[in-house]
Amino acid sequence: MEKAKICLAVIDDAGAAAPLTALAGRLAGRVFVAAIDAPEAAVNAEKAWLISTGGAGAAAAVGAVTRLLEELAPELVITGAGRDSRMLAAHCAAALRTSALTDADELTPEPGAIAARRLVYGGGAYKSVRAAYPAVICAGPSLAGAAAEAAPCAVLEEIRASLPEGMELTGRAEKSVVKVGLGAAKIVLGLGRGVKDAANVERAAAFAARIGAELGCTRPVAEDEGLLPRERYIGVSGAVIKPALYIAAGISGQIQHMAGVNSSGVIIAINKDKQAAIFENCDYGVVGDMMEVLDALDEKLS
């Protein structure tokens, strides 16, 4: 495998620092880190720049990060997949006059380029692409959420950054919600239209919490019914998840949804319609009411 020479990992979320820098190390000979408001993200690298924005966030760091691109001339830039990461990736890509490979999976270095694959058309197809260096990668959740060792970085340099003129942060509120870790979860409980209402979502969420599962859902549950936030919608951004166990509850199993979960270790399907396509694509299936089955499982497992 031919590695890139230099990779800059741009980290705006300390939680993704270890897997993203470890990935950078697999793809490039020399790894550097730009850690935005997250000194603990300075890991697995030859040198890290600690960009402190005083809480102003990614929008303030854009200038500092693109200046680092000029200094380092990396062949690869790697970011996470969150909204801030995507913003940073877009600015890096614009500066390098290329397009970021977003939600990239199956990264393969080639001489002078990197190949990757992602889901497009709402999960309807895999698109394989090859980006010539310098290339920008927004790692998909299964890469950004993978377990990895983190060795602290010895060489650090601090950069102070502020928002561009004419842009002022007037407020900021942390949310109490637990971060959605679909990429890292060992078990994912996916809810389809069969969940019907908010009360059932709550019961299913309680069950998921008890078995240590992360909650996901299909497009209609998030977009049409608004029963779960969009972060939990599997397949929306072309993201492929790879839990050890995927439980599809009340999900019919359209190809668009299955594409996002096909890489799961074991798939359990629960659906009251015995004709549902999901039963052709599962390891274990039960024909029956999803809430009845989840309740029975809850009882059995507690």
Binding site: G57, A59, G82, R86, M87, A90, H91, A93, A94, R97, S99, A115, L119, V120, Y121, G122, G124, A125, Y126, K127, S128, V129, R130, A131, A132, A135, E165, G166, M167, T170, G171, R172, A173, E174, V177, K179, V180, V236, S237, G238, L245, I247, I255, M258, A259, N262, I267, I268, A269, K274, F279, C282, D283, Y284, G285, V286, V287, G288, K300, L301
Partner: protein
């Protein structure tokens, strides 16, 4: 205020027939306006109401869709005063950089633009890159994930919704903003809107051969193939079924 709302005509992939492992025939799918782009158009119309005398211009970079009167009417019936289409075959299936370069150049050519709005991502690729990139290329203030937009004096007030926090900003214009799908409910055009849309101005900028070079090559497009699975399906909710499922769950707990 002069507001530009960008959109993309994409193949309506829900109507695609998918054969596992085969290349979907995207060209057979009918065109539709990207569903998230409608949020950008609606946000533009609502802001224009707050600033009387505003003009809203719809903007797209398109190949085959550029000449479709049906698609032109579809976007103009959502309210914009006029439409600018940057046309080159290279824009069909173009990557974010090629698209963003064309849009940024068109925005400069339109001139005097105060605000450019994008949806959260295109319906087909959903890379969520083009809005941020247009901001970067123009060198304007730029934010994505915006869930509320308002005007305060001559400045823009925005709320950004992120997975773990929300932020509010005040921005001077000009700016480029990518809105979330929760910012509004796009209007459904009335028959009057649709009839009126045909009378609005359309400017086509022929860019044949002028598109930026892409550095990302598409190697292939394939409908996903299903993995081999055990396929042990219990036809009713029996103790044996629950036992089998519980065993698999316990293994991962």
């Amino acid at each position: 205020m002069k507001i530009v709302a960008c959109y993309k005509n994409t193949p309506d992939f829900e109507s695609l027939r998918l054969q596992p492992g085969e290349e979907p025939d995207v060209s057979a799918a009918p065109l539709a306006i990207g569903q998230y782009d409608l949020n950008a158009v609606e946000a533009a119309m609502q802001l224009a109401q707050l600033a009387p005398g505003s003009e809203v211009i719809a903007l797209t970079a398109a190949g085959a869709a550029a000449d479709s009167t049906k698609q032109r009417k579809a976007i103009l019936s959502r309210g914009p005063d006029r439409l600018v289409v940057v046309k080159d075959e290279a824009f069909d299936g173009a990557d974010s950089f090629v698209t963003a370069s064309a849009l940024a150049a068109a925005i400069e050519r339109i001139g005097g633009v105060d605000l450019v709005l994008f949806g959260e991502g295109s319906a087909d690729m959903y890379a969520q890159q083009v809005g941020c990139m247009v901001g970067a290329l123009l060198g304007w203030r730029e934010l994505n994930s915006v869930s509320e937009l308002g005007l305060d004096g001559g400045a823009l007030t925005v709320r950004r919704e992120l997975a773990d926090r929300s932020e509010t900003y005040r921005l001077s214009l000009p700016a480029v903003i990518s809105v979330t799908s929760s910012i509004n409910r796009p209007r459904i055009p009335s028959m009057k809107d649709i009839l009126g849309a045909g009378k609005k101005g359309v400017e086509v900028i022929d860019c044949a051969g002028l598109a930026a070079d892409s550095r990302v090559e598409t190697l292939g497009l394939r409908a996903p193939e299903a993995a081999e699975r055990k396929g042990r399906v219990f036809q009713s909710v029996t103790d044996e079924a629950i036992e089998a499922l519980a065993l698999e769950i316990r293994r991962q707990m």
